[in-house]
């Protein structure tokens, strides 16, 4: 029998129509919807008298615009309208919505897995590029634009060319103090922001197998920052045990049946990939970015590079522009860079284990007076779980602000904005110009590195703080 990758297995199970000279028409098992990329799609349905074909496979929440201080004060009327439009659309088309007051509300890529909606073998789409997060379960999950959102609402299918496969093998064991965020930042720094363009990635290797589901989600979440629309991890017992008992997962006998099917989707031993890239986990130290795309980063022991260190003229120019925007001098030691803001949250790093890692660093320490630090849990459920463990009190005692769930300062669509010229240590996924606010300077780091920056007032190697055991 031909050996297949998990990507090929899922693809073949979902082909509705295949013809020469056309992309394949793929069936979609789960369509996640949020307030920002859906209003024009619903309007399109309305204008053409079309319905939603499978409301039962569609699930909505609001996350991008929501306030994280008082959930009922939406200061921007345009944001408010967008949120109300989603409510109206979900009512009209019969779609389940985790509304602002709903106990399941949260970032769409946090609640899908948490509710058990995300399952191995599914095809999952959402009008959001970080849909790749769900690939951690061995699902084929990718971001789409609003035209495609409308197409999936109307037909439950999408036209896709079968992608090439790229294996990213992370060999060996992770060192002390290194988190899954550091793995993906190191991969992007090494291979570049378009290493995965045109491919779907599968993350393999000993280091990936040893990760929890939440840690795998952080890695798959940022596949798109390496150019790949989707990034997967083959399902294993870690996947199965995470899903057991979740609300939308199969229950009882059905679960055991499903688990067998899920495990059989894992890539076959010896399956071939169009391309394979490798990295050794032991070489990865805690990472941080210094520039304006996620590949412009290095280990924390590094220095801000000079444009002259790069060979290609285009790269020299990109680095020159980045250093100018970031207000950094070539040759500066990364640990000499001060911070003004710290953001712990986003679909990359706002799950319970992320908050635990940050709290471990924050415990018994104080946020520097010059630093504004906020913690934004990924969902209402994460928030409650963290509060039940007392994490909120650890953060509050240390001087962090403890907020309500949402996308928040990752893209600053609500009031959580980094002011011009200010420098932010952020656990989010994009350090683009203006991402966290016009003129804001973003440095991407892991949750424990962000907490370390908050309590020391500068970027710090978390391994050097006493009492940190992760």
């Amino acid at each position: 029998m031909t050996k297949k990758t998990v990507i090929e297995k899922i693809w073949e199970n979902h082909v509705v129509s295949r013809e020469e000279g056309k992309p394949d028409l793929l069936y979609i098992d789960l369509h996640l919807v949020h307030e920002v990329t859906s209003p024009q799609a619903f309007e399109g349905l309305r204008m053409n008298g079309r319905r939603v074909r499978r409301p039962d496979l569609t699930y909505a929440t609001m996350d991008h615009n929501v306030p994280t201080v008082n959930r009922h004060i939406v200061s921007d009327p345009v944001s408010k309208t967008q949120m109300e439009t989603l409510q109206k659309n979900c009512r009209e088309f019969g779609i389940e919505l985790a509304d602002i007051d709903h106990p399941d509300q949260g970032i769409v890529h946090v609640i899908g897995p948490q509710l058990g909606l995300t399952q191995p073998g599914k095809t999952i789409v959402c009008g959001d590029s970080h849909t790749s997060t769900h690939g951690a379960f061995g699902a084929l999950a990718f971001g789409i634009g609003t035209s495609e959102v409308e197409h999936v609402l109307a037909t439950q299918t999408i036209w896709q060319k079968q992608p090439k496969t790229l294996q990213i093998k992370v060999n060996g064991k992770l060192g002390f103090g290194v988190q899954s965020k550091d793995i993906i930042l190191a991969i992007i720094a090494k291979f570049g922001v378009n290493a995965g363009t045109g491919y779907v990635m599968e993350f393999t290797g000993e280091a990936i197998r040893s990760l929890s589901m939440e840690q795998r989600m952080t890695i798959c979440n940022m596949s798109i920052e390496a150019g790949a629309r989707a990034g997967l991890v083959s399902p294993d017992m870690t996947t199965v045990e995470y899903l057991r008992g979740r609300r939308y997962a199969p229950q009882g006998e059905d679960f055991e049946e499903a688990a067998k099917r899920w495990l059989s989707l894992a890539s076959d031993e010896g399956a071939s990939y169009d391309k394979t890239l490798e990295i050794d986990a032991a070489d990865i130290e805690p990472q941080m970015t210094w520039g304006t795309n996620p590949a412009m980063g290095s280990g924390i022991s590094g220095f801000v590079p000079s444009p002259d260190q790069f060979d290609r003229e285009a790269d020299k120019e990109s680095v020159r522009l980045a250093l100018d925007y970031m207000g950094l001098e070539a040759g500066t030691k990364l640990t000499d860079i001060p911070v003004d803001y710290v953001f712990i949250g986003s679909c990359t790093n706002s799950r319970l284990s992320d908050l635990r890692a940050a709290a471990e660093v924050a415990k018994g320490r104080k946020v520097q007076e010059s630093v504004t630090a906020i913690v934004v849990p990924g969902s209402q459920t994460v928030k409650q779980q963290a509060e039940a463990e007392g994490l909120d009190q650890i953060f509050i005692d240390a001087g962090f602000q403890w907020r309500e769930s949402g996308c928040s300062m990752c893209l600053a669509m609500n009031d959580d904005i980094v002011p011009p010229g200010k420098r932010c240590a952020s656990t989010s996924n994009r350090n683009f110009e203006g991402r966290q606010g016009s003129g804001a300077r973003t440095h991407l780091v892991s949750p424990s590195m962000a907490a370390a920056a908050a309590v020391t007032g500068r970027f710090t190697d978390v391994r050097e703080l006493s009492g940190v055991n992760q």
């Binding site: 028409l25 069936y27 920002v36 967008q82 971001g143 634009g145 035209s147 795309n293 893209l411």
Partner: protein
């Protein structure tokens, strides 16, 4: 969407690699629920300073380039977010054609669905066009049927495009109508996988 086949237009160069969708259309403009009117916000942070004044050094603020309809840029154009507001903004501003060595996958798809032709040329060809178009008023002719880009001074380049996307662009098809014409296949798939009818 508007069909596109033969197109002649004026070129504006933005010589940068990895132009992300946050630059093309910043997040504060994603709150609108309409599809139209995003052109005024395209490249907002590059066009305007924090007080809303025009930045004189940005090329689209140069009256000699302001009315361009073809954009030439560096590699990995449109990386980042899936926001379709990016192609909406480019199109609404007046850009019908983009030329770059490579594009982010989601941006490329989103462009096609809005009738924007995103042409992939080689690094050297794009380099040549960036140079030539730094002189205002430089024009290019694009022929989608022939898959060629040419100017009046002897530049001619061939580009590849998926035959399906090419057909969609030339005919300006509404993709949902095309798909719904195959609804029986969707229903058959649903019957097999879900054992139910949803038509």
């Amino acid at each position: 969407m508007e069909p596109i086949n033969q197109f002649t237009g004026t070129v504006c160069p933005i010589n940068r690699a990895n132009i992300d969708t946050d630059q093309i259309i910043p997040k504060q403009f994603l709150k609108r629920i309409e599809r139209a009117g995003f052109g005024q916000f395209v490249f907002y942070n590059w066009r305007f300073d924090d007080d809303g004044n025009k930045r004189e050094d940005f090329i689209l603020n140069d009256p000699k380039f302001a009315d361009s309809d073809i954009l030439v840029a560096g590699e990995n154009f449109g990386c980042g977010s899936s926001r379709e507001h990016a192609p909406w903004a480019l199109l609404d501003y007046g850009f019908r054609i983009i030329i770059a060595p490579s594009y982010a996958d989601i941006f490329y798809n989103n462009s096609v669905k809005n009738g924007i032709l995103a042409v992939k040329l080689t690094d050297d060809e794009v380099e040549t066009l960036l140079e030539r178009s730094s002189v205002p008023g430089y024009k290019l002719h694009i022929n989608l049927e022939e898959q060629s880009v040419s100017d009046e001074s002897g530049f001619k380049a061939h580009f590849d495009i998926d035959p399906y996307w090419k057909k969609m662009l030339i005919n300006g098809w509404d993709e949902i109508s095309v798909t719904l014409s195959e609804e029986q296949r969707i229903a058959r798939y649903e019957e097999k996988m879900y054992g139910k009818q949803y038509s």
